[in-house]
Symmetry: C2
Amino acid sequence: MEYSFSKSLDALKSSAVREILKLTQGSSVISFSGGLPAEEFFPVAEMKEAFNRVFSQEKKALQYGLTDGYIPLREWIIGRMKQKNMHVGLDNMILTTGSQQVLDLLSRVYLDPGDCVLMENPSYLAAIQLFQSRGVRMIGVEADADGMDLDDLQAKIAAYRPKMVYVVPTFSNPTGKAWSLERRLGLLRICRENNVLILEDDPYGELRFDDSSAAYPTIFSLDEHPNGSAVVYTSTFSKIVAPAVRTGWAMGDVNIIQAMVRAKQAVDLHSSSLDQMGLHELLTHFDLDSHIAKIRKEYRERKEMMHHLLTQQGWEEITWNAPKGGMFFWVELPEDVDAEQLLPYAVKEGVAFVPGAPFYVDTPKRNTLRINFTHADRETMMLGVERFARAVNAYCGQAVR
Amino acid sequence: MEYSFSKSLDALKSSAVREILKLTQGSSVISFSGGLPAEEFFPVAEMKEAFNRVFSQEKKALQYGLTDGYIPLREWIIGRMKQKNMHVGLDNMILTTGSQQVLDLLSRVYLDPGDCVLMENPSYLAAIQLFQSRGVRMIGVEADADGMDLDDLQAKIAAYRPKMVYVVPTFSNPTGKAWSLERRLGLLRICRENNVLILEDDPYGELRFDDSSAAYPTIFSLDEHPNGSAVVYTSTFSKIVAPAVRTGWAMGDVNIIQAMVRAKQAVDLHSSSLDQMGLHELLTHFDLDSHIAKIRKEYRERKEMMHHLLTQQGWEEITWNAPKGGMFFWVELPEDVDAEQLLPYAVKEGVAFVPGAPFYVDTPKRNTLRINFTHADRETMMLGVERFARAVNAYCGQAVR
């Protein structure tokens, strides 16, 4: 039998990096590579009780559900979003298999192969993969610590006529940056003027390390909404409850969301309604805000410890950001060092990270890498940084002072 | 804000039929429309215990999981498939959000827009929608009660050079037919000779009404496998356990399955691993075969009752199949009657069905409709058929004798 795969499959070739990281699974290698929350904080006992309550309901709860998701959970999310100045109705919201699926569904209903999307550069790796698989052309926009450069955004819109801008404005993946209010407003104004849709991906917004909850308003909240909005907003329970329930959501104009509902019907009918019911039972019996406060405190401490451990190495030519939230350090090695070449050394020493190159939509800065600081506990983190330092010193030798 | 949707969205326009059926949700309308299992038989108490065991495991169980799915559940399925003469390894299997997602993932990695797929005609509605959304050209193959006409299959392969044939050979949706062994072997031979991939969709295979388990071997089991197989096989737990867990699987050549894994990573990272763990705990403590035997017996009785109730009406010009398994009657009205026109009459009387036209990939037989017999209990079924008969007599009047 001779197979003949689709052309779009070429965009999905497995990377050498993914192959290396696969080798670390289940091994004694300490992984700083994934965007993993700390398992110690999963509210397992509360989830157990929540699912018990679900199974005590009518049996028809386990029947096929609505494509747009379990209504009581949507209502709960609507209430929470209201506190963040985002006001939507049931028809403006769809529940998905993690927020990752929002990228796929929106791409299906809004982008044709050959269409252009503007992105931060570097940007979220799995968004790049998804857009690639759809045959979408990605163009990177210049940026600094406050977000996209608005002049460059304007120029790229004029040059490429994009249909969409994809951003992670609050504690971005991979760079950990948070956009200033001015840049948020500027992006919104420019996109509205040019009818460019904004996909605001916000998995990390709750994981901020200071108490200024008003400092990072969502772009969605700054726009006219829900209908007629220039923004589709997406977030997830993966980082604040647990990834295994794979439940995310999108909010936006009714026509966009309902188009996504039709696409989802063809794609998988609906996501796990059992998980959606379990989450709803959890959230109505659980102080989510206290839980998030606890995670925030712990993640801030882990961030500070990672910063401390890296600083201790005394490297003068290795720099990293100081994120105000989220899960990642973005590290720059000396310019002549290739992080993909460093990775096998690190794995040999027993630690893994993600090289930065695959996060770029065009010419990569090959001397970058991403380190997660939320998953490893203190002891593991110390050991991991030790191993990382050995790898850096072995690979880079005298290049790193 | 002016939106500009993708071209492929046009293929996903909501149908008038779907809108009518949506109106029946949560109302007192008796629905014979969905492919719904009987809720009374969901093993809820056993599922409750199973999920309790999951929540008693290590917390890291709730972390991100593997894209191809929870290994112990894959191993369990591999064991069960072996009993059906299908022998695969872990790398030949991917777990998905229902078997519906298999259609999407396989389309992504195997079909480009403009490629041709051959299908039974009529065929599964949501497969048609999915292929449409992918821009795939669908060609119907002539068929009789034993399956596709092999001469027509041969001719259509020569004429259209399809990349794939999509079939539901065992208790098909919507017609309920089961292919003969000769047709299964013929399809396989012809497809191998022409390098045409077969997607064998088997959600209903376990729901047979007689005891001849060997009567309907899967096409996958008849082929050389797993690697080099001309068949990708998919099934689901939705019909034999409960739909809410949204867990299906696909098996096939390692290159095809691993391509689907890469596609799935971009699409949604992975399906609910909580549900996969819960299912695994259920299945290792549960007599699934006794459970299926109980459902089979009940569904056979409901099928016979539906047949009896329809027969009682004394319609001479309305005919239907006598399925040997599955969930559906396929009904033919007099030739001049349009089932889509009949539907509003039925809804007004308080009963719903699915008109047959949307199941056709080309010119529809508009006088057909699909009736589900597994969901309604006896009392509801009696009332539903009464209402259906009133609608038929009101709409068709003297046309139906």
